[in-house]
Every structure is written in structure tokens, then in C-alpha cells.
Symmetry: C2
Subunit: 243 residues, 2 copies
């Protein structure tokens, strides 16, 4: 059975304005590779309802899963819950179990569960909560769309909890070989090897170190023995390579 496919959607003006460098996508990509869920594409959109709705509907319809990051806090620019509800055409409102989570958290910290904070208990109808062990305010899964916070520590904790309950596939394995030659020297034999091992993905990533050109060849796939066979062939082609 092929692995489930996925897309990621990062929501936030701060990424597109250059203020913040996103880290959630890189974290998610690594976790999904380990879980055997194939991340096929990612998008970054601004805090605007139309942009979020269009991206959610485009991505959820062609992938098994859509993971989103950002826009579920208490402030006016946190509009992801409303946009996802609109994308599905379902109502959104404060849900009792989400409110109870917040009430318990704020009782413990001595802060008031005011109207702004209560916004974080607004959950689209039919969604399942995603636990937030860091700061209580939950994410949610609505159908195949998994909505999580943008704060990296919270996002990471939510991903861990969520992946534990999603059906994964065969983990994506990666091996690499560093070859002290320019890409232009290795391109032709590498292309022939990639064509022969068509079930694997071959990437070539050039670098310059101490003025010398080199390339790291990365071989990815789900069959460890095939990857090993490809690596041995590659090492025989380029005996000076370092594993």
C-alpha cells in the first residue's frame, strides 16, 4: 500500500514579511518522513480569510492529510479556526470541553479566562481536539485537516500527540554520500544510476568547501536494502567519496 500523502500550510504575515523565519515546516517534514507520511507540497499564506480558505480547500482535496500551523491564538489576527470552518461550511463556536481545558489552565496560573482567551475555545463543529500540553489551548482535526499553533514549542508538542493517532506508512529512509567533485563531473553517471534505481529518489546538492567543489548525493526511499545497493554502486563509481 502506498504511503499516505500530505501537504503543509503555514499561516502568518510574519513569515511573508521576512520578520520571522519559519521553523515549523522543517520540523514537520522530518517527523512526517519518520512516520511514513509523504509530504508532497507546502504553502505559506497571509492572515487573510480568503487566502486561507482557498489553500485549505485546494490542499485537503488532493492529499490524505493537511497540517496547518499558526493563527489559533487569542488576538484579532488569529483567524484560522474561522477560516477552516468556512472552508468546510460548518459553524464554529466555543466548545465546552475546550473551554474546560482553558478554565483549568487559567485557574492554575491565576489569570482570568477573559473574552479574548475564550476565543481559543472556538472549535469548528465536528472537529476532534489536538492536545496542547504546553499552554492548554487546543488544536483540532476537522476531517483530514489538522490545525495547530504557530509557536514552535506548542506546534512540536501538538505534532507529537497527533502523529501518535494517525495511521502512518513505511518510513522514508535517507542515506548520503559526499563526493569531492563538482556536480558537472558526476551528473552523467548519477543520472544513469538514478534511471536504473527508479524506485529511489536521487538528489544532488553542491557545495564549496575550502575553495573546492563537491556534491552530496542523497538517496531516499522506503526499502533500506535497495538504498544500500545504490550506495554501494555509487561508492564504486566514485571511490574517493565519503559516506
Amino acid at each position: 500500500m502506498p504511503n499516505p500523502t500530505a501537504a503543509a500550510l503555514v499561516i502568518g504575515d510574519e513569515i511573508l514579511s521576512g520578520r520571522t523565519r519559519d521553523s515549523n515546516l522543517h520540523f514537520l517534514a522530518g517527523e512526517l518522513a519518520r512516520a511514513g507520511i509523504d509530504l508532497r507540497e507546502a504553502r505559506i499564506v497571509a492572515d487573510q480569510p480568503a487566502a486561507i480558505i482557498a489553500a485549505v480547500n485546494a490542499l485537503r482535496s488532493v492529499h490524505d492529510h493537511l497540517f496547518t500551523s499558526g493563527g489559533i491564538g487569542p488576538t484579532h489576527d488569529d483567524i484560522t479556526a474561522d477560516a477552516v470552518a468556512a472552508a468546510f461550511g460548518v459553524p464554529v463556536g466555543v466548545r465546552e470541553d475546550a473551554r474546560a481545558l482553558l478554565a483549568a489552565h487559567y485557574a492554575k496560573t491565576g489569570l482570568e479566562l477573559n473574552a479574548a482567551r475564550l476565543r481559543m475555545a472556538r472549535i469548528p463543529a465536528g472537529a476532534q481536539l489536538i492536545e496542547n500540553p504546553v499552554s492548554a489551548a487546543p488544536g483540532f482535526s476537522l476531517g483530514n485537516v489538522h490545525v495547530m499553533a504557530g509557536v514552535p514549542a506548542v506546534f512540536q508538542a501538538m505534532v507529537a500527540g497527533l502523529l501518535a493517532r494517525l495511521a502512518g506508512g513505511t518510513p522514508l529512509l535517507t542515506q548520503s554520500l559526499t563526493i569531492p567533485r563538482g556536480e558537472g563531473e558526476i551528473a552523467t553517471p548519477l543520472a544513469a544510476l538514478a534511471a536504473e534505481f527508479a524506485d529511489l529518489a536521487f538528489g544532488s546538492y553542491p557545495f564549496v568547501r575550502a575553495g573546492a567543489y563537491g556534491a552530496t548525493v542523497v538517496v531516499r526511499g522506503t526499502d533500506g536494502a535497495r538504498i544500500e545497493a545504490a550506495l554501494l554502486r555509487l561508492a564504486a563509481l566514485f571511490p574517493e567519496a565519503l559516506r
Copy 2:
């Protein structure tokens, strides 16, 4: 006149597999903000022709500019020039001026301009070259699509050269205020201020430092005086804030 709009497209399996953390998007976002070109969305796709073609056509049709990163080297996984040519329905082949740039570069470095390296002179018909002062192999602009390398040093040099010839707009200005209170405390007055200054964008980014909650409020816009007025109002609302 409103600022030109833009999208970014990052092309590369290595980002989606979690191997590499993209840095080009963050660099581009900052440069475009300074140039007064509004980056509205970004996408990351795999090294697959159909995915690249679909993204190029979707993004170039709704934005003034599309900037791409990755996939223009000499190896088999470098398919961006072909995919962009296909998206426009134009032929692609080795172009004499691009070949001359490579020939001069390899003559200087003593390496052979072999068939693999010559792939980097394949340019879609009608394109304008983008200079690569780092390693010679050029990028290109085809219509409103600007195709650049994925290696960060080369990408950055190409962006610098390209932006010098694109018409920009009014730079996006940013000011921020750090407020030592949780987002839930500031959300209501902040929303009222954002509604009053509807020509500016207000973002709120929570953090925890030494166990205490705080939020950085970021105000963005093209009118420096308006941003200053908003900041002064914000500082009056939260006298303990730090600029």
C-alpha cells in the same frame, strides 16, 4: 499606485523530506519588503515536472512577479528550466550567450564544459538572463517569472542583481513593541486599535521568557508617520511596554 505583488516558489525534494531547512524564502521576503514588492504567498514543491508547471502557472497568473529557487544545476534532478518552458509553452535549448558565460568560467577554472555542465546553458526561448557572479551559470526571467538557483550564496547574489532592474514600490516598514503581558490581556485593546488603523497590519507574537508571558506587537505599513502614531497609541495603552 499599489505595490507590485509577488509569490515565491521553492523547488526541491530536500526541503519536503526534512533534509534541508530552506533559507532562501526568508532572505527573499526581507529583500522584497525593502523593495516595496508585496510577497503574498509562497509554495514549496518537489522536483516533479507536473508539480512545478502547475505551481508556476497558478502563481504567475495572479501575481505581478513569481520568484523561484532551485533546480537549475547540471544534474538529472535539475528540471526547473524545462518545467518553466513547458508552463509557458515555449521551447528550451542551449543559448549561445549562456554557453559563452559557462565557457569563460570553466576556461578560467580549468574544468571541462562537458554535456552535463552545458545543461546549465539551456534557457527557455524569450527569456532574459539573470547574472550569477558566484558560479557563472545564469538564472533567467521569462515574462514575470524569475528563475534562480537554490544554493543560498548564488540565490542571494541573483536576487540582488534582479531587484536592481525590477520596478519596486513603497518599502514595507515595520515597528514593534514588546509588551510584558500575555496575549489574552492585550487582545481586546489591540483589536480596537487595529480596526482604527485599518491601513496598517498589526501582528501579535507571543513568547515566554524566564517563565513570564509576553507578546511582541508588530505594526507594518508603508506610511511611517501612521506607524509612529499607532506605536504611540499602543505605548500609551501599555506603559510598561518596551520599544
